[in-house]
């Protein structure tokens, strides 16, 4: 009687999350796998959902990977985009957090506001401002600045020239800025939670800023850095929204501007709305994500994250 009451209470706490897990993650994942075996397109569930297409979507996918250089470019782009953006996210976030540590509180507020803008800006608007910033003609902000400074003499199509590096640079830059703020916030607060005594002691011992960072600050927030890195890794693997418009507006080259998640999105939402194929390539992405996520937890040492609750209630 008492125990059942207790478990009833527990359920009350867990049911909403479990429902969401099941309805919006578990079922859709199953459905996605299911859809990858149907010829679903144009959202026409009534017509296609009951047709079994076998491995056809997977066959098409691997056929495209084998034969279409653009799809191979998508692979390459993902392989470059994810780690490099991740590095920028983490290192940038760390750098900002450390500089934040060294400057006064009021400056902190200013910097934080600026760096949170990318995260707070609606995606379409965010894409629009970078579209004009990187535009490959004199109207582009970057070009006009560099020309005025005499660094370049003609406008450069940043996302279209020097392929693939141009396109990669632009999408990495634009996505990187969004992620930096996450690292900045988490790491700033982690730095702030380091006891002052350590810093006073280091300063008394005559540590320079750099030594303070290397010997005191960074080692103490190592775990937070790992957390940011893994969370962002998973985020980047699945991010597509900030790149989508840049590609469709031709600011960046299509092949080298498309990471895998965007490729999936484009299959499902543009052109012939091929949701079957999108599901198949999505399943592929999910498998990669699951492996990386699992590795992540191995590295993070998951058990360290969870302390046992006290009491026997």
């Amino acid at each position: 009687m008492k125990d059942s009451k207790r478990s009833l209470e527990l359920w009350a706490f867990l049911v909403p999350a479990l429902l969401i897990l099941v309805v919006f993650y578990f079922l859709p994942t199953i459905l996605t796998i299911f859809i990858s075996f149907t010829p679903l397109r144009n959202w026409n569930i009534d017509r296609y959902a009951r047709i079994f297409a076998g491995w056809r979507n997977y066959y098409r996918l691997f056929y495209a990977i084998q034969n279409d250089p653009s799809v191979r470019a998508v692979f390459l782009t993902t392989a470059v985009f994810v780690p490099v953006t991740l590095a920028i996210n983490v290192l940038g976030g760390l750098a900002l957090a450390l500089i934040n540590f060294f400057v006064g509180k009021r400056s902190n507020a200013l910097i934080n506001t600026i760096w949170l803008l990318p995260r707070m800006t609606p995606i379409a608007v965010y894409s629009l401002v970078w579209y004009y910033f990187f535009h490959g003609s004199e109207i582009g902000t970057l070009n006009s600045i560099l020309i005025k400074l005499g660094i370049i003499h003609r406008a450069v199509s940043w996302g279209q020239e020097f392929l693939p590096y141009g396109a990669w640079s632009v999408i990495i830059f634009v996505n990187g800025l969004v992620g930096v703020s996450f690292g900045m916030i988490v790491l700033s607060s982690a730095v702030k939670s380091i006891p002052t005594e350590h810093i006073i002691a280091a300063r008394v011992d005559g540590a320079t800023d750099w030594q303070l960072c290397r010997r005191i600050l960074i080692p103490q927030i190592r775990w937070h850095i790992m957390y940011v890195a893994t969370w962002q890794l998973l985020s980047l693997l699945t991010s597509y929204a900030h790149t989508y418009l840049l590609v469709s507006w031709r600011l960046v080259d299509k092949s080298y501007g498309t990471p895998w998640a965007l490729y999936v999105y484009e299959l499902a939402f543009t052109g012939v709305f091929d949701q079957g194929l999108a599901a198949a390539s999505g399943v592929f992405l999910v498998i990669v994500g699951a492996i990386l996520g699992w590795l992540t937890l191995k590295i993070l040492g998951f058990n360290k994250l969870v302390t046992e609750p006290r009491g026997d209630l």
């Binding site: 969401i20 800006t121 006891p195 937890l297």
Partner: protein
């Protein structure tokens, strides 16, 4: 509370660091300042050539008339779009926080089987891409939706809020769990000994104590809902500011300064929200993922 370095450094060095920071932030500053300038202009300010640039309030006037064109254009009720955006954002904020607070509490404070697995899955499902899930989520929507059009409209709000909030739940659970981890057990026990149920303790005692965390998670949820485009476009019958702007952002025919005004208008609530809550945000992250 410690907020930074001890004061052993000269003013010049601090200014130097600040300079480095501002230089790093320059691109962001530039693009957003240009956006705001454009909203008051007769053309997009994209380079620093202002010879043909003229100040005007016309963009803002047209925007509030609900027109996204300098001539023509159908009038839309932008305040209605604003309202539906706010409903979605508010709903996502509430739901994310509610679920986060419940589950975060349970994971932090209650012993049960599968507790670790639940926390683990909260990290792992983050690896499931929204663009993949949405096909399945659409499928479910199709199955679940009512037939009556009036109900569908409400249902679409309900569903889009649920679906969008679901994407934010992993982070909010983690943040909330971290925050509950920091609370002293005695406070909770005291209430339990006094005769409160766990649920009552959660609601009456612990929630008020993590108010900063709740506010911050609310804000994150709000921003996520406010920004969302793809879920809203796919499921919601009404339009939000995001879909309204997006559908008018067609580079071939759109009058861009007007869109800059719309974008600035769209950004305002989020900036106000952020500035009023900045300190809270940093606190919650500090608690959020503490070991």
């Amino acid at each position: 509370m410690v907020t930074g370095d001890v004061e052993t450094k000269g003013r010049i060095k601090e200014i130097f660091y600040l300079g480095v920071l501002l230089a790093l932030s320059a691109p962001i500053l530039v693009v957003f300042v240009l956006l705001v300038i454009s909203s008051f202009g007769n053309q997009m300010a994209t380079n620093f050539d202002f010879s043909a640039f003229r100040f005007t309030l016309k963009n803002w006037r047209l925007l509030f008339e609900g027109r996204m064109a300098i001539t023509g254009g159908v009038r839309e009720n932008i305040w209605l779009h604003f309202l539906s955006t706010a409903v979605v954002a508010g709903g996502v904020a509430f739901l994310t926080t509610f679920v986060g607070a419940l589950t975060g509490y349970a994971i932090s404070r209650i012993k049960f089987k599968g507790r670790k697995i639940l926390l683990l899955s909260m990290l792992l499902i983050h690896a499931l891409p929204g663009s993949v899930l949405i096909v399945g989520v659409y499928f479910l929507y199709r199955v679940l939706m009512p037939q009556n059009l009036v109900f569908i409209r409400y249902f679409s709000f309900f569903y889009v809020i649920l679906a969008r909030a679901a994407l934010e739940v992993p982070l909010s659970v983690w943040l909330m769990k971290g925050f509950f981890d920091l609370l002293p057990w005695e406070t909770e026990w005291s209430a339990l000994v006094d005769g409160a149920s766990r649920f009552l303790v959660w609601r009456k005692i612990l929630l008020p104590l993590i108010k900063p965390g709740i506010v911050a998670v609310l804000i994150f949820g709000f921003l996520a809902g406010w920004q969302d485009l793809i879920y809203v476009r796919t499921f919601l019958i009404d339009r939000t500011l995001a879909t309204f702007i997006e559908s008018n952002l067609e580079t071939e025919m759109a009058y861009m300064p007007l869109l800059a005004a719309a974008a600035t208008f769209y950004l305002l609530p989020t900036i106000v929200f952020y500035i009023s809550s900045q300190q809270l945000l940093f606190k919650v992250y500090a608690g959020g993922i503490r070991r």
